[in-house]
């Protein structure tokens, strides 16, 4: 068997979703029994069967990618609940596995995928999509590319007439239907908090659920930017949003 074919076969098994109890499925790729599939490629040893050895990698894969998604989308996790969020991520990653060398980009196709698979956010479509857009914008703003900043001393009368303003590429502009910026800040705060008491933790969880339920629709315009290397969410007026959006798109009608 060629190296390429072996790697394709093993990768299919490694990336196949786990059971509800987080074990490797008994049915493998192509409907074949996984015990037979694993035994074809993997040697057993005196302690583990071929199935069990392959299962270590199957579980490692899913624990890693699900952990990465939970870290990147704490707000969406709060909206959907942990169980539904995990199920949704399994479905998303099965259809859209990583195409990048970095886990940073794992959620890059989540918004588009959810638009085609709204059953995962049924009843909360608009809120969930707002949250996904904001959380992805947060990632982009955190470490996106920056252009050198124009300094006042570089401007003179001649250069002003040729000036073409642009927005930093890492700046993200969002038109949202819910004030999800408040919710994501709360979710992030909760993720970073270590509770000494389980009772306190439970109380906080109930409050979070109420916060999601109580969130009322409200049109907001948001700029997600960074200052001194920290990411900020800043609400802006519709007119400000329109102008920045035009600049982002390279609208030449805004030139002086």
């Amino acid at each position: 068997m060629s190296l390429a074919n072996l790697q394709k076969a093993v990768a299919r098994a490694v990336m196949q979703p786990l059971t509800r109890n987080e074990h490797m499925r008994v049915v493998g790729p192509g409907g074949e029994r996984m015990r037979r599939y694993a035994a074809r490629y993997i040697k057993p040893n005196d302690r583990l069967t071929s199935f069990e050895r392959l299962e270590i990698y199957n579980r490692q894969y899913w624990f890693r990618v699900l952990g990465s998604m939970a870290e990147d989308f704490p707000g969406l996790r709060k909206i959907l609940g942990e169980r539904r969020f995990d199920d949704m991520c399994r479905a998303y990653l099965t259809e859209c596995p990583s195409r990048s060398f970095t886990l940073r980009n794992l959620g890059s196709r989540l918004e588009a995928w959810l638009r085609h698979n709204p059953q995962w956010v049924r009843g909360k479509e608009v809120l969930a999509l707002d949250m996904v857009r904001l959380e992805w914008a947060d990632i982009e703003a955190f470490d996106g590319e920056a252009e050198p900043v124009l300094r006042p001393e570089e401007l003179d009368a001649d250069s002003v007439s040729k000036l073409r303003l642009r927005v930093q590429p890492y700046v993200q502009l969002l038109e949202l239907h819910y004030p999800v910026d408040d919710l994501v800040l709360q979710a992030k705060d909760d993720e970073g908090t270590n509770f000494a008491s389980n009772a306190v933790g439970e109380l906080r969880r109930r409050m979070k659920v109420r916060a999601v339920v109580a969130l009322k629709p409200q049109k907001i315009f948001l700029v997600v930017h960074r200052l001194d290397f920290s990411v900020y969410f800043r609400r802006i007026e519709r007119e400000e949003y329109s102008m920045l959006k035009a600049l982002h798109g390279g609208d030449r009608s805004l030139a002086p």
Partner: protein
């Protein structure tokens, strides 16, 4: 022997991995550390805080790049965007050498983000060596390839892991990042003598050594990097530096990361073996 063409003729001592929980401590206290190892992929980005931190570190410390997703052993060609970003980072850090793993993890542009074990075949050795040469020529910096921990072996393998490692590095004419913890973990999972592995490695190709902690389960051992280095691993380290000399050594601690001081103190425990080695050489 420790300074060789595979580590750009440097004589680095004991380093530790640069990890986010320690940023504040390092930048405010400025502890004496010989060098830091960074995970390249964490800094192959457009801008923002990670690159700012890296630039501040570079002002005061020597940095060596270690990658986790080049996948020298994957059958597909290297990702050009990955290489372009990696080269840009190499220029930024001035790393004397670059390391990544002797493993595979991507298939036709889909990534598992894991270090999957190689089948030890001559075909795999040839393909891996070609990729190593290509990456080295593109980056214009020496490459060291690291042996990984593994939990599975393939029926198709035609040789032992250490024979495969030797086959690859000879064909690629590249260096070795010898991870003695990974050798120990794999030896327990696959029932071989770890000293046989250490003694078979071409010592003149060892550019760097990794040490780390692991976790023991009922039927296998996992390479978790969340513990101090255990005694059997120190014994292998002792043997490795007897053969390779006073080689650049790095402690990996990536999960349940304790204070900077605790990590650094654990790394500096390697000093006692290095001192012993120097004495033996002097005698």
């Amino acid at each position: 022997m420790p300074a060789n063409r595979f580590n750009n003729f440097t004589n680095y001592g004991i380093g530790i991995g640069l990890r986010a929980p320690h940023y504040d401590h390092i930048l405010t206290r400025k502890p004496v550390v010989d060098w830091f190892e960074i995970i390249s992929e964490n800094f192959m980005i457009g801008g923002g805080r990670p690159l700012r931190i890296l630039d501040q570190i570079l002002e005061q410390y020597r940095v060596v790049q270690h990658g986790v997703s080049m996948y020298f052993g994957s059958a597909n060609r290297p990702d050009r965007e990955h290489l372009r970003r990696l080269k840009s980072l190499v220029k930024r850090t001035g790393t004397p050498w670059v390391s990544d793993h002797l493993c595979w993890g991507s298939v036709d542009g889909t990534y598992t983000h894991d270090l999957l074990p190689m089948p030890y075949t001559f075909e795999a050795a040839k393909i891996t060596a070609q990729k190593l040469r290509y990456v080295r020529d593109f980056l214009e910096v020496p490459i060291a390839v690291e042996n990984v921990s593994s939990y599975a072996e393939y029926h198709v393998s035609e040789m032992t892991e250490w024979e495969f490692l030797n086959e690859v590095v000879e064909r690629a004419d590249c260096g070795i990042l010898l991870d003695v913890n990974n050798i120990y973990v794999s030896s327990q999972n696959h029932n071989f003598n770890p000293l046989t592995y250490i003694n078979s490695v071409p010592a003149d190709r060892v550019a760097q050594i990794h040490i780390a902690g692991h976790s023991k389960f009922e039927k296998f051992i996992l390479d978790t990097h969340d513990h101090p280095v255990l005694d059997p691993v120190w014994k292998l380290y002792d043997r490795a530096i007897q053969r390779a000399g006073h080689t650049a050594t790095l402690l990996e601690w990536d999960d349940r990361i304790p204070s900077f001081q605790e990590v650094h103190d654990e790394a500096l425990r390697a000093d006692r073996f290095l001192a012993d080695t120097q004495l033996k050489v002097a005698v």
